[in-house]
Amino acid sequence: MTTRTRPAPARRGTPRRRRVDGLHAYTLLLIGWLILPVAIMIAFGFNDVHGKQNYRWEGFTLRWYAHLLDKDDLVTAVVNSLTIALLSTLLSTVAGTLAGLALGRYRFRGGGATGLLLLMAISCPEVVMGASLLSMFVTFGLPRGYLTILLAHVMFSIAFVAVTVRARVVGLDPAVEEAARDLGAGPWTRFRLVTLPMIMPGVVAGALLAFVLSIDDFVITGFTSGATVTFPLWVYGSTRTGTPPQVNVLGTLIFAVGAVVTAVTARRGARAPDHSRAW
């Protein structure tokens, strides 16, 4: 067998994992690179640092975990981030699901324009979205703060939820709902007992996406925040004076929760029939 550096699409007749091939090693290397900064972030949450700058290892400590809630303004920022994310997820999931359902199910005048609007909202650069919101708030003299952040977050999340749900609706078999109607189910019953359970994976995926987008958002939040501070804004502000280790701890905790939720979701998905190749 000639050794080629080119990726080989098919390796028939050879036993699998005969050797660690180059591409496998490369994939692991890439993953290692992506994880390196995260590993450093986690490690420096345990750093027994005494000055303001947290980039030299000074010994192991758990004191930042014990004093996690010492910085009042940081706690406020985290609470703001969490409540905004929850509220915006709730609102955008309801509105986005309805829109996604309508767009996936019905053909109606304005449907194409709505779809285009969603696509524009998704592909619009964040800084432009933030700048335009700020322009509007300035033009109409609206004070910026918690409420304007929430309104903005719902806005950019709606499009993602709607698109996710629509993708799910398009793949559904309309015969199931017709069967429910033929069996005498009214519109509300059909929605609750048939449609909603069928689109639920799309709704959950959309809601998770909305939550992540909101809690992670920095740019649009920065333009709409006024004096209100969220976690990303606080972290950004702290880079000038030195980021305290509590930020690493909070980052680690958020990371852990996100990873666990995804692992559970992935495991559930894995139980569904597997379409992976057997070669």
Binding site: R6, P9, P37, F108, T114, L119, P125, S135
Partner: protein, 300 residues
């Protein structure tokens, strides 16, 4: 047998009215929200971009087109640099993620989901914090470069932070999943039997890849290019955290014109110009490659 009449609405006259109204009622909340907080702000921004005035006396509509010409003239360098950095990061993302996506899609076997998750794991750390952590990696006496420098592996003058390279590396790091995921999805959809057929027809490994796998995966690459290029070239966090004063991008200018200088009209003009340039670029790109291909892949 699916009855197509059932999809469009209810039977019976009352039902028909409800069926006809239903999609509008369902789209209404989302549509209104986008109208008020996406469309109206855009209009407000365009209007503001033609005004003159200052923060103290307020702004007045004067159709001052020079906001555009002056803005583009003054910050042309930053515009070009943004597009250039965005392009570099996009290419880097494609080159770096394609082989890994390929391996996971074709060789991942049962571990496919696990590998994909590992690849996406870093993105559970929030964007700003991730960038700050990446800065730590690139810091001269940080935990990575410090020891390397201490052991004399790196030359004494070696320096990464505050350079254009640092900014592009940060953009690449932050936006890699936008490229890796569409490529992975496209590769994963390729029927392995097609590849086998190519091999049976005496295509070599390289031939089968170049003439079968690569073309079939291109829609994923095209979608990835748009998904990566737009946010990367409009970003300002990476340039702010990782770059030096000579590496600022147009996002930094927009941000500081708004918040440091209170020059709202110029900032609005610049951000509208940025959007127009990116949109035109995306449309030209889509046209060149075939609209259907790109939109289909991007809309997935």
């Amino acid at each position: 047998m699916a009855d197509s009449a059932g999809r469009t609405g209810e039977r019976g006259s009352a039902g028909r009215v409800r069926g006809a109204l239903a999609p509008y009622l369902m789209v209404l909340p989302a549509g209104l929200w986008l109208l008020v907080f996406f469309v109206v702000p855009m209009v407000a921004m365009v209007s503001l971009s033609l005004q003159t005035g200052d923060l103290v006396d307020g702004f007045r509509q004067t159709f001052h087109w020079r906001n555009y010409t002056d803005g583009l003239h003054t910050y042309g360098d930053q515009f070009v640099r943004s597009l250039w950095y965005g392009l570099l990061a996009t290419v880097a993302c494609a080159v770096l993620s394609y082989p890994a996506a390929y391996w996971i899609a074709f060789r991942g076997g049962r571990g496919k989901t696990a590998y994909l998750m590992l690849l996406l794991l870093p993105y559970f750390v929030s964007f700003v914090l991730r960038t700050v952590s990446w800065k730590l990696v690139l810091t001269d006496d940080g935990p990575v470069l410090g020891p390397l420098r201490g052991h004399g592996i790196l030359p004494p003058g070696f320096h990464v932070l505050d350079t254009g390279f640092a900014v592009v590396s940060g953009l690449t790091y932050n936006f890699l999943p936008f490229m890796a995921l569409p490529i992975y999805v496209a590769l994963e959809r390729i029927d392995p039997r097609v590849v086998e057929a190519a091999r049976d027809l005496y295509a070599g490994r390289a031939g089968a890849f170049a003439r079968v796998v690569l073309p079939l995966s291109l829609p994923g690459v095209f979608a990835g290019v748009i998904l990566t290029f737009v946010p990367a070239s409009a970003d300002y966090v990476n340039a702010e955290v990782l770059g030096g004063p000579g590496d600022t991008m147009i996002g930094n200018v927009i941000q500081s014109e708004y918040f440091d200088n209170g020059a709202y009209p110029v900032a609005s003009a610049l951000s509208f110009a940025l959007m127009a340039i990116l949109l035109l670029g995306v449309f030209a790109y889509a046209r060149a490659l075939g609209t259907r291909n790109v939109l289909e892949a991007a809309g997935r």
